[in-house]
């Protein structure tokens, strides 16, 4: 008679004793959770023993369970090693989940609004325990995922695994590649720093080029939520990043995975006869069962991959965070994210519509339909010379285009800007101005000149600086003797006054010996000017350090040179190979000046970024 009016666990205890009743209860729960494997089955599997029950309980989870119904119950032995698949497909999926988990952590601390997004980033960095760690993981995972997915596509191409019957699997794969790119791209904007705003502005402006104009304009409006990237644009990119694109990605991942079950993994080409597909007819001795071999292997790879990522973000990689997004200031050297550099490079070839819209569309379309073009039955390399050639040509072309997309290619800045930018730039793209990492105590207030380093012998430095001071008292050589000619020093003072640096007099000295790093920078400044002497004729530079507040210095970098004639970005030379000078109405050279300045606080700690 039951103690309760219905059969219960208590009856079991009465009947079998506590220990046995509990064990059987647990065993049953485990069997239900695993959809078919009880404790004994799991123990056997993990010990590498053969199953003792029939029917084989290790196949049950594939038949009855949700999670494993998307995985084949056994693999061919030839596809379980590192070669030929390098685990790239598996790694891609790993990153989908990895990014989802780290992303949800970050979502908790993030609001998609230009007013607070950047402040949220600062809070994640300064006020959320493990905030920087998770952000670094998310960013590194994103870059790695883009890379892995691309490599996965290349591997599939080179082993011709896209051939019948897997044409459609390949097509969904191409869609997944571009969804991955777009997922990464849409996340780029969210920190709302300068890097984000301008990389995405460049990317999004391509949509504007879509012909006809009415389509382009409206597409741009839809994407950005206004003519400029602002509050609406940020919200839209956020929703794309956390909702729309991941949803599509999961759908296509499901399809992609289901196709693997239907068609099996394609075998290394040499193991099959030409035109045959034996993936679904795996001989018994070649079968490697998912449980336990593939499953333990995958769990191990989760551990190993995550460990590698954790080590990388702990010691070698930090996600960049530049200064607050500012639509008014375009930073020098702005580029799209690296995986879209090829489009930016293509844009430099000419027409925006042709190279920015038609070319990428054709490129993607070509990839999508490739299995239906290349229908030759053989997967052997020897039989695919034309296909391999096309593949390598496209790869090379993409690499060249990506190189052309870099800021260094085809974008000419004037020499003075380039030299000064090199010294003062804010940290961006793993670079920063050479003045910034100088230790604060070495930044002794004073006026220093490149003339100190223009002499051969270091012993002459002192007199070179004295001569420079004397030179500043006089007008330029061609004006000397004229009554109203302004001394060069006064021109410099007047110029600096317009830069809100009111100085009463100039007095240059040699760089103090206690400031070796400052010395190096000024010396390098001189070398840079020498390298660019055709453009910056008779140039000299000065570095002026002033105290602003007790723990704050201002550093002005200034270049003065004689203007030369520049046509189409190139200096014009006369018959003797000398650069042609620009001259005023009296035939005198024209002096030009330019300067940039930065402020350095004692605690701002500019270090070279890890890996830079």
């Amino acid at each position: 008679m039951s103690v309760l009016p219905f059969p219960s666990f208590l009856d079991d205890i009465k009947e079998k004793g506590l220990k046995r009743a509990v064990f059987e209860g647990v065993n049953e729960v485990v069997e239900r959770l695993t959809a078919g494997m009880n404790l004994q089955d799991i123990r056997e599997a993990l010990r590498g023993e053969a199953p003792t029950r029939k029917p084989n309980p290790r196949l049950q989870p594939h038949a009855d369970g949700f999670w494993l119904h998307m995985r084949p119950s056994y693999f061919h032995k030839s596809v379980t090693g590192v070669y030929p698949e390098f685990r790239l497909g598996w790694l891609s999926t790993y990153f989908v989940f990895f990014e989802t988990i780290t992303g949800i952590f970050l979502m908790v601390f993030y609001t998609p609004s230009p007013d607070v997004a950047y402040a949220n980033m600062l809070a994640i960095m300064s006020n959320v325990p493990l905030g920087q760690f998770v952000r670094d993981l998310h960013r590194l995972g994103a870059e790695a995922m883009v890379l892995i997915v691309t490599l996965h596509m290349l591997r599939t191409f080179f082993t011709a695994s896209y051939k019948k019957p897997r044409q459609f699997t390949w097509a969904t794969g191409v869609i997944l590649v571009f969804l991955t790119y777009f997922l990464s791209f849409s996340g780029y904007l969210l920190p709302w720093d300068q890097l984000a705003l301008w990389a995405v502005t460049i990317g999004a402006s391509m949509f504007e080029a879509t012909p006809p104009e009415i389509v382009g304009t409206n597409l741009n409006l839809l994407l950005r939520g206004g003519p400029e990237m602002g509050a609406n644009g940020l919200l839209r990119f956020y929703l794309l990043h956390v909702l729309a694109v991941p949803a599509l990605l999961f759908v296509f991942t499901g399809v992609h995975y289901y196709k693997v079950i239907v068609h099996g993994h394609s075998l290394p080409p040499k193991e099959e006869n030409i035109g045959e597909d034996t993936a679904k007819r795996v001989p018994l001795d070649k079968r490697v069962y998912f449980i336990p071999d593939i499953l333990t292997s995958e769990i191990m790879w989760i551990g190993v991959t995550t460990l590698i990522l954790v080590i990388l973000v702990t010691w070698f990689f930090h996600a960049p965070l530049e200064s607050h997004a500012d639509p008014q200031i375009t930073p020098l050297g702005t580029t799209a994210p690296w995986y879209f550099l090829w489009i930016q490079g293509a844009l430099k070839l000419g027409d925006k519509v042709l190279w920015g819209i038609i070319f990428p569309t054709v490129y993607v379309g070509f990839l999508l339909v490739w299995p239906y073009i290349d229908t030759a039955p053989s997967r052997r390399w020897a039989h695919r010379r034309l296909q391999m050639t096309i593949g390598f040509l496209i790869m090379s072309f993409t690499v060249v285009l990506s190189y052309m997309g870099l800021a260094e290619f085809g974008v000419v800045n004037s020499a003075d800007i380039t030299v000064m930018h090199h010294m003062t730039m804010e940290p961006a793209h793993n670079h920063m101005g050479t003045l910034r990492p100088i230790p604060f105590e070495q930044l002794q207030a004073g006026m220093y000149t490149t003339r100190e380093f223009a002499v051969e012998d270091a012993a002459e430095a002192q007199s070179a600086v004295a001569a420079f001071n004397a030179e500043l008292e006089l007008p330029p050589p061609w004006l000397q003797g004229q009554a109203d000619a302004q001394p060069v020093g006064e021109m410099v003072l007047a110029y600096l006054d317009t830069q809100h640096l009111p100085l009463t007099r100039l007095n240059f000295t040699t760089v103090p010996s206690a400031s070796p790093e400052l010395r190096e920078v000024v010396e390098e400044f001189e070398h840079e000017l020498e390298l660019k002497e055709t453009e910056l004729h008779n140039a000299w530079g000065v570095v002026i350090i002033t105290d602003v507040q007790e723990n704050l210095k201002r550093i002005d970098v200034m270049i003065l040179w004689e203007d030369v004639v520049i046509e189409n970005g190139k200096v014009v030379f006369d018959a003797e190979g000398e650069p042609v000078l620009n001259r005023d109405e009296n035939g005198n050279p024209i002096i030009r000046m330019n300067s940039q300045h930065i402020y350095i606080h004692r605690d701002s700690q500019y270090f070279a970024a890890p890996g830079a």
Binding site: M125, P129, I302, G303, T306, T314, Q549
Partner: protein, 371 residues
Amino acid sequence: MFNLQRLLVEKIEHRILVGTVSFLAIMAIVGWIAINEGGRMAAFERQYSARSIERGAGLFANNCSTCHGVDGRGVVGRAPGLNSPYLFGHDFLAELNAEQAQLESERNNASTTAERLTEIEARLTEIEAEKQVIINQINTALANTGGSYNPENPSRLTNLGWGGGLYNFVYTTLVHGRPTSSAYWPQPMAAWAQTAGGPLRNDQLADLTNYILNWDKGDDWTLEDLYAVRQFPIVPADPTTIVASDVETVGTDAAAIVAELGNYQGDPQNGMALYTGALACAGCHLNASVAPLTEGTWTRVNEARLADPAVQALGITDGVHYLVDSIVAPNDYVVSGYPAGIMPQNFGDRLSYQDMADLIAYLQSQDGPAQ
């Protein structure tokens, strides 16, 4: 051959071992990071506020230094100093005041002996004298400075009755500007926040505020810092305390004023004080892009302005008449290149005949070559 794949992953027990070790290593590293998070977050905070000050310095130079001075010590007649003990409420009498308060409480204590009381009284007299010395020193040193500073009420926030902290005071001032200040400065302070129609984002205002507050020297402010301030805030008159003055103001009829001025002797020294101080003319007339320069005014009036047909059309034929008309009715004739309506229209209600005579005398002394 050494085969990593075979060694590590071919046997199931190897896989379990490698996987377990990896997970343990991850947990160890994350634990190690977690332990150090406090220090890392503090370091980031410090680094970030330092960079915020750097950006603020750039913004200040571009947007604020024209009126508040490159060094933040204010520009006479235009805007008050921010790099000033007054803004940060530093009290130069604090030590003496503290001693005084302590002695006074001791004096009021019934248990204090008569002998001690005499000592206290003597010391209190001394303190009063020492305080007076400092106050006199400060008042003498600041005699020619614009605005007002009272050593006994040395905190800007207290004098304004501001309830919040200094950060919020500076930040809110930046957000909204000082629209009413046009009543006592030549130009009002503009609203700087984008939310209030200005050019700067909130994070930039925070940078600027951090930079301004970085002037604080805490207890290390010196009297030299105080004397270096060129302009203190002008305290606007409380409208309820204003009584009708019995001094007759000049009104706006230039010809009548000129006729009356014959009865007054102008003092150029006092005119200069009015020009650079109370009337704050110099705030605009020191910058040729805002208003004609002070220097060379008298030469310019006689050589250029009186020759202008537009001036002759007003029936103005001599320099004094021109100057008076320009002061009391600035829009009658506006020098080409400058917009009308910039100069305040109410000087006729503010100037007495003596003030006007002094001003004219000062301007007549500006007969150097016009730059």
